[in-house]
Symmetry: none
Subunit: 402 residues, 2 copies
């Protein structure tokens, strides 16, 4: 990465658009994958005049979560850049103002019996409206000297918590016993030799004890379980690493969060992909790298809905010509990972990649799909190499050595 | 590399020829790249009976200079093996006798006004005949106690200088102010804590002061600017690393220099590729690894002359049968990097590779060109892996492990 830092030039006119269809890669259910089945004349035109390949988010055979998969697309080594689950959770609920040293964790509302034993780890999947009120109650009533506590609701029984104070470490165990019939565990430091971890454990246990008191009459959500605690360490920004001015256009909080983590400016994306492209057009002059995220390909993949995933691809395809019309130096179209509807889950399969640029070495491929990508001119490589490849195709990298 | 050192066998009969077309890779200007357009029946025959692939000189998206690109072909990691510009410059002008600890730098003859201000950083691109005389004048008149100074002419206003003395460091700044209207800068140590750098700075500044005095009546070339200063640290030789006896046949000093750096024997290559092959035939029994370099593919690429680049390929193609006739165990044909004539510059595109050997796993490719290479049996990989691949195809590597 240090090489790139030296070679990358800040050329505002050589713009890059990275269009990410979440969970793009698929499997055939007879006559081709979702992407191969979809009628996508615009993507196919780019495939014909550009070049194709397959990318591996983490490495051969590894199925990624969305966090590391996106970090790889943004040029970070997803094996080195470990972002804790608590941090992703806080980012995922839109708590983007994380500061160096903040401790974040995931919360489940749970049900406790009279003896303090967990009888339901999800409090009957309590409705989001109820859990949001309970989150508010916690925010108003928890008091810990010298520490700010922020609780944010997620869906149903889920929430996130952030502790902000001096000298706290995130090296902490969970309070979640993972099974019913047991009492919640004390949060403990991974290594008692460190005062910062001891102090943080005390803070979190204090928070949990206060929460039990505050929620005691709110059966079935009369307790909480905390897990995935982690400290926030900011990453070097994409601007620093690649000499770009990046913006993110994504409708879902989680993806905005990861983008924020990488130092992107988060733009108001509206509700639909069409509104995302409207936003792209408006912001065109203000940035030189645009990450545009399409969520529903993944959602329908997870639902096992082959046809709906095909339909989303067909719906977005015409918008591609609006991206072209802006005159980018490079367009890359890919996914963060594969979500074959046949598997109803993320998978390990490498992800189709299309790179269009005046500088692309045109290959023999004429349509954007997994089979053609497998014999495309770009070959197969790790997703984390996509960033240098895009920068190169946009003409933004100087020569290495004499 | 340590693995190879243990596995490689010194088999004098299993010879390897590495034929490097400088800047081989190209881009289409309508109907195929330069290599795809050229009629190359001999290379195509090797492609049909051998196997193809694409190699990345430095890494995904990185455009290389010729120095690191060649080091990669010779089996060195080009990201780790950083050779300074001054060193490459000295090697490039044919100063091949560099010794451990020598300091080398690049010189520009420049024009100074009466107040010592630089008015032209290139002395009006003074003719090579003139600058060669000035170089001689410097060699005869500069005297620095305890230090030998060697100045060598390059083209026009360019020259190279080598300082040989005890305890000198190359951690030095440039004297070139990079703009006109300023006086030349004092050369300074990067870190004043090191005596070796302080001493070296004193030597270089003394050299520059003497040069100003010696050249004062040689307007427009009445001054010099020095930059890219660096110390020479020898690399482990290819013989040590790969158990081969290597020879270089290259007409241009720069490539002979890099080969020398890797411990190759430098053979007299004549002026033309035909003479290079003559030399190869004569030296056949004396070595077991031959690097043969064709420069003009790169030069015409840099000129943007598609047809001339095609023509050179067609001119060299028949000579390939003379290489075959010698009975090598492995022939590899590739480039150090791509120089598409459309871009008139080195580029980041991976480089076509052909490996012929009795041991090659023949793929479906029938012609040597970028598109076929993209679906060749060797796939895509880093250039630095070519050396083990050639050794293997020549049957020179033992089994790893039991």
């Amino acid at each position: 990465m240090n090489i790139l830092k030296e070679l990358a030039q800040p050329l505002r006119d050589k713009k890059i658009v990275l269009l990410v269809f979440d969970g793009l890669g698929g499997l055939s259910e007879g006559k081709g994958t979702e992407l191969e089945t979809a009628r996508t004349p615009n993507l196919d035109r780019l495939a014909t005049t550009g070049t194709l390949g397959l990318i591996h988010p983490i490495g051969c055979g590894i199925t990624p979560g969305s966090g590391p998969a996106h970090l790889a697309l943004f040029g970070y080594d997803p094996r080195e850049t470990i972002v804790g689950r608590g941090i992703l959770s806080a980012l995922g609920v839109g708590f983007h103002d994380l500061r160096h040293g903040d401790i974040a964790g995931r919360i489940n509302f749970c049900t406790l019996d009279g003896d303090g034993i967990v009888t339901d780890r999800r409090a009957g999947r309590v409705a989001t409206e109820i859990s949001s009120q309970l989150v508010e109650k916690l925010n108003q009533n928890v008091k810990i000297a010298g520490v700010e506590v922020f609780v944010r609701p997620e869906k149903e029984h889920r929430a996130a918590v952030v502790f902000r104070g001096k000298g706290l470490s995130g090296e902490l165990t969970d309070s979640d016993p993972q099974v019913t019939g047991k009492a919640p565990l004390e949060v403990e430091p991974h290594d008692t030799a460190f005062d910062a971890a001891k102090k943080a454990a005390k803070v979190v246990n204090d928070f949990i004890a206060q929460a039990f008191e505050i929620l005691k009459d709110d059966h079935p959500a009369n307790g909480i379980l905390v897990r995935g605690l982690d400290a926030f360490h900011p990453l070097p920004s994409m601007s620093e690493l690649f000499n770009i001015k990046p913006a993110a256009i994504a409708t879902y909080p989680m993806y905005r969060g990861v983008a924020k983590l990488c130092g992107m400016e988060i733009l108001d994306a509206g509700q639909t992909v069409e509104e995302e492209i409207d936003r792209l057009e408006k912001a065109w002059n203000d940035f030189d790298f645009f990450y545009v995220h399409v969520k529903k390909t993944d959602s329908y993949g997870e639902d096992g809905n082959f046809d709906a995933k095909v339909h989303i691809l067909e719906e977005v395809d015409p918008l591609v010509s609006r991206i072209e019309a802006l005159g980018p130096a490079c367009i890359a179209v890919t996914g963060d990972h594969s979500t074959p509807s046949r598997m109803k889950a993320h998978s390990f399969h490498p992800v189709p990649l299309l790179v269009w640029s005046e500088l692309a070495r045109v290959d023999e491929c004429t349509a954007f799909g997994e089979s053609q990508c497998a014999r495309g001119g770009l070959g197969q490589f790790d997703s984390k190499e996509l960033m240098p490849l895009m920068l190169a195709h946009a003409g933004r990298l100087q020569k290495f050595g004499a």
